[in-house]
Symmetry: C2
Subunit: 166 residues, 2 copies
DNA sequence: TATTGTTATACTCTATAACTATA
DNA sequence: TATAGTTATAGAGTATAACAATA
């Protein structure tokens, strides 16, 4: 199945380069698709709210998981502890999240989003969802869009059963 | 369609954080899935061949498009010209590609992969395809895997009809 | 005047190591 | 002994600006 086929669509979206050999490489197609989603994010959230993708994700995960720790965030996003410290520093200095020392484990920092942080995360998510739907409407049906999200989620779940991968 | 549902799968693969609000954000699911494909790449190609993902992609696109220019590569990958210069420098210093001045347009550099470069690209692609298939086999059927690749390709094609995006 | 490619430079993001304070 | 978090530092990668050569 999925035997090699050479069609006019075996070409890069920009630059018109033949990519027949890369067509079935998941990492490559992911990188190409990420160019689009990154552009949508930068336009709809990054620039207007001055938020990097990581900042948005960290903020939203804190909104969804009040009382969580930085260590769990670091594991969820496969980034290092010093990295998380920096991003939380920025979000905290902007008044979007708060750090509190945990009562049960005094090493741990308990994270909460402020009202402003919650509002910003909600607004950002709404903008992204709308913009992504609009950007892909010409190429993907609503059903395809939903399937894509599910399949990506399944791929993400392959983490952990492997040696590497955060 | 795709109405919000709260299920046990609305959680990050690692760290077990609730991600219900992020579930439908394509950029987020892409980033999570990329953690897996990046790990596969690093293990199967990055470390053994000392190749970054960009280097592999640049090399493979040159193999597939002999005689192409750096400008087209930059457009295809949505990276800047100085960036491409650097990556080609590295590939050339390792004897994997050659630069020649174009006869028709003497500003342009014509790119060719060496025999060694061609062999390396082929070997790397084979390893990635095998490793990706194996890594995802437990989570995606062969059909789902193929559909995912097609849908990602369609997303990538949304580039260009937009303002931003390289 | 626009395009190809290079150099120089600065910036962002990330990773590692060393440290503290708890457990 | 291991974990949570911070700091300091170095590295990788990217972007911008300025330049040369050509179209």
């Amino acid at each position: 199945m999925a035997s090699k086929r050479l069609s006019r669509s075996d070409t890069t979206p920009a630059g018109r380069l033949d990519e027949a050999r890369l067509h079935d490489v998941l990492g490559y197609q992911m990188a190409q698709a990420t160019i689009v989603s990154n552009a949508v994010f930068a336009e709809q959230v990054g620039r207007p709210f001055d938020l990097r993708p990581v900042e948005y994700t960290v903020l939203t995960l804190i909104v969804e998981n009040p009382g969580g720790s930085q260590a769990r965030l670091a594991r969820a996003l496969a980034v290092t502890a010093p990295n998380i410290t920096m991003w939380i520093d920025r979000l905290e200095s902007r008044g979007l999240v708060r750090r509190e020392q945990s009562a049960r484990d005094r090493r741990s920092q308990v994270l909460h989003a402020t009202q402003e942080g919650i509002a910003l995360a909600r607004a950002a998510t709404q903008r992204i969802l709308d913009a992504e739907r609009q950007a892909l409407a010409a190429h993907l049906s609503a059903a395809e869009h939903a399937i894509l999200l599910e399949l990506l989620h399944k791929v993400a779940c392959a983490r952990g059963e492997r040696s590497g991968g955060g």
